[in-house]
């Protein structure tokens, strides 16, 4: 008998629903499928949907796709779903409060015993540097950092994938600091921590030392938190001639100065292009920036942002990229490999760009087609 069951199973695998397919106008609309997924259909409409889908492979696939893309399946109801569910957080809260009342006094005493020499101002940067290696690890492969500002944190691969984030701006600045500090370190120790440890040794030699720098090497080996970056930088600079320092500072400033800023109609929203092709956006008038990687590299030369969400960027060899959601970029085709040095735009559809030899091209369809404007 089990052979017969197997036969039916095999037939089902091979044949089910190949008997008839309905497509086209008869198929369920996106609106109906969405209503079905959100359970807002009436019982009659729901039956109609099921009846159609039972014979239509396309709509079966659609329903399956909706199920597969559901964010959270409906949770099964249990006794835990009632008022009881508040007991756990309530108990946890009470426990936390009790611990908070009972423990801090003892803990504070231990903390004071452990680090009596550190003043508050020193403790703060030390903690910052302790966090720094992780931040730099995140920033060095471009995929790791996620923009703070992005609503897609953790979900948007494109944002996180090419993409240094807001942290990268800081990481780049730290890179400059790191370069200065590492020049005094051993050649094999390029990391920030290594550089700082070496820099600290210099601090000891020059006598420009802080409480942290006065620790013995043995204590440093035990101490997980490296010294503050500012201290390292200051110590490093103390060993250099003033001319060298001037050169380094100029180079660092140039890196920052070469950022081209693009304002929008909204004063709070700004874009800026870095020399390495990095693109950043600020929503607070330039106080903080988050990366919006375009993937086109250091070819960008100019930008225009007619609205807070729309931004056109142009550059070398006919590079044109556009975002209409302030997040993802589309590279647009351009008829010539000319360097584009200027762009003006009125919205996400209409823009004109100027080539380095003075010609102007216009688009009114979001960059799908370009027309050269005749010169007067």
């Amino acid at each position: 008998m089990s052979d017969r069951n197997q036969a039916i199973e095999r037939l089902l695998r091979a044949r089910v629903n190949r008997s008839r397919e309905v497509e086209g106008a008869e198929c369920l609309s996106a609106d109906t499928i969405a209503a079905w997924a959100d359970r807002t259909l009436t019982a009659r409409s729901r039956e109609a949907v099921e009846a159609h889908a039972s014979d239509c492979t396309r709509c079966q696939a659609l329903l399956a796709a909706m199920v597969l893309t559901e964010t959270e399946p409906e949770p099964a109801r249990s006794f835990w779903g009632g008022p009881v569910r508040w007991l756990a957080p309530l108990a946890a809260g009470i426990t936390a409060v009790a611990l908070w009342v009972a423990v801090p006094e003892q803990q504070a005493g231990r903390d004071l015993d452990q680090r009596p020499q550190l003043s508050e101002s020193e403790a703060q940067p030390a903690r910052a540097v302790a966090d720094e290696p992780a931040a730099l690890e995140d920033a060095s492969p471009p995929a790791a950092a996620v923009p703070q500002e992005s609503p897609m944190a953790g979900a948007d691969e494109s944002v996180s994938a090419g993409a240094p984030s807001e942290a990268l701006g800081g990481a780049r600045e730290r890179d400059a600091t790191e370069q200065l500090a590492n020049e005094f370190g051993s050649p094999g120790r390029g990391g920030v921590v290594g550089g700082e440890v070496q820099g600290q040794a210099r601090l000891e030699e020059t006598g420009a030392a802080s409480e942290v720098a006065r620790r013995s090497q043995a204590q440093m080996a035990k101490e997980p938190a490296p010294p503050a970056a500012e201290e390292v930088q200051n110590g490093a600079l103390a060993l250099r001639s003033s001319a060298d320092v001037m050169v380094e500072q100029r180079a660092f400033a140039d890196r920052l100065d070469r950022r081209l800023e693009v304002s929008t109609a909204d004063d709070a929203v700004r874009w800026r292009l870095g020399p390495d092709g990095d693109v950043e956006r600020s929503r607070d008038g330039g106080l903080t920036w988050s990366a919006r990687p375009t993937g086109v590299g250091p070819d960008l030369l100019a930008g225009a942002a007619p609205t807070a969400g729309v931004c056109w960027l142009v550059g070398r060899r006919g590079t044109v990229v556009l975002t209409i959601d302030a997040e993802t970029w589309r590279r647009l085709p351009f008829p010539e490999p000319a360097d584009l040095t200027l762009v003006e735009a009125s919205d996400g559809l209409r823009a004109s760009v100027t080539t380095d030899d003075g010609r102007t091209f216009e688009t009114t369809d979001g960059g799908a087609t370009w027309t050269e404007v005749a010169r007067p």
């Binding site: 095999r10 091979a14 044949r15 807002t40 796709a65 893309t69 559809l349």
Partner: protein
């Protein structure tokens, strides 16, 4: 920017007071959506959903109250080109869309569809100087995020189906089961058995209730798990399992009955079923070399 041109097609006249009340409930003012404009969207939605039923005034009102009004207002504002609304939409819906694309194709194959949907939602295409946003087709019957997911699902499924159409003919023979070359000397009746059982099986399937066919399709054709199939049918997975087992028993009994009606003896009946079990599927020289058929999803766990 032009948005939904709805007034021309509106057959319903909605009470002004009702529209104003819904306009307030939808907080449409935050997107600078006028009462008239929102009223047009409401009327279009009602006509789209109820047009065929000639509903009463009360039914229309009930329908309108059931809508996701805030999402409808947001969609209208986005379709009309309100940048602030668009930014809000992007913030709220974008994660859902990309998560859905990732769920459909973890290798990233659906990501480009999601991106193209964004362009269409924004309305990069113009007609007669008017931006045409896909959001014109959102009627508020679901959340806007679910609707966008549904649009993504449609495009993804259509692309997969289109790709299948251009694939070279493979193992799926539209005409029915593919006869393989048996290892043992061929049974002269084998073709007749398989053809008979195939017809009987088709009739048994057709006799099932739509819901039973949908359950089978989700499980076998769409390769959903029991739990996922249950989500389609709003059933617990244990119920799905039981129902599938019951349906298979029904099919088997129906096939046996039909074959008996055709005059099959008990031995012939068994031989017919055996023929199906022994079939190795597609004609493939490698497969023809005396391989036993493999069933990757055993029926034994659910069929006693």
């Amino acid at each position: 920017m032009g948005g939904c041109r709805l007034r021309d097609t509106i057959g319903y006249h909605l009470d002004d007071t009702l529209v104003e009340r819904l306009h307030r409930r939808a907080k449409a003012g935050q997107w600078r959506l006028t009462v008239d404009r929102f009223g047009a969207a409401l009327a279009a939605s009602a006509e789209s959903a109820l047009g065929a039923f000639a509903p009463s005034r009360k039914e229309i009102e009930k329908y309108l109250h059931s809508l996701r009004l805030e999402d409808l207002a947001l969609a209208c504002a986005c379709a009309d080109g309100d940048e602030e609304a668009w930014e809000h939409f992007v913030r709220e819906v974008r994660p859902t869309l990309y998560r859905a694309a990732g769920a459909l194709d973890p290798t990233g194959g659906a990501r480009d569809i999601a991106d193209s949907i964004y362009a269409d939602l924004y309305g990069l295409q113009e007609r007669d100087g008017v931006r045409r946003s896909l959001l014109r087709y959102f009627h508020g019957r679901s959340s806007i995020a679910t609707w966008v997911r549904s649009v993504l699902a449609q495009r993804y499924v259509d692309r997969v189906r289109a790709a299948k159409r251009v694939e070279p003919l493979g193992d799926e023979n539209e005409g029915g089961l593919v006869l393989s070359v048996p290892c043992s000397p061929p049974d002269p009746d084998r073709g007749r058995y398989i053809e008979s059982i195939r017809h009987a099986f088709g009739r048994a399937l057709a006799a099932l209730a739509p819901r039973e066919r949908l359950r089978l399709a989700c499980y076998y054709e769409q390769q959903l798990t029991l739990a996922q199939t249950g989500r389609v049918l709003r059933e617990h997975e244990a119920t799905v399992s039981r129902q599938l087992a019951r349906t298979r028993r029904t099919i088997r009994a129906d096939v046996e009955r039909q074959l008996r009606d055709l005059g099959f003896s008990a031995d012939e009946l068994q031989a017919a079923f055996d023929s199906v079990v022994q079939d190795t599927g597609p004609i493939d020289l490698g497969e023809m070399l005396c391989k036993k058929p493999e069933l990757d999803r055993s029926v034994s766990e659910e069929m006693s």
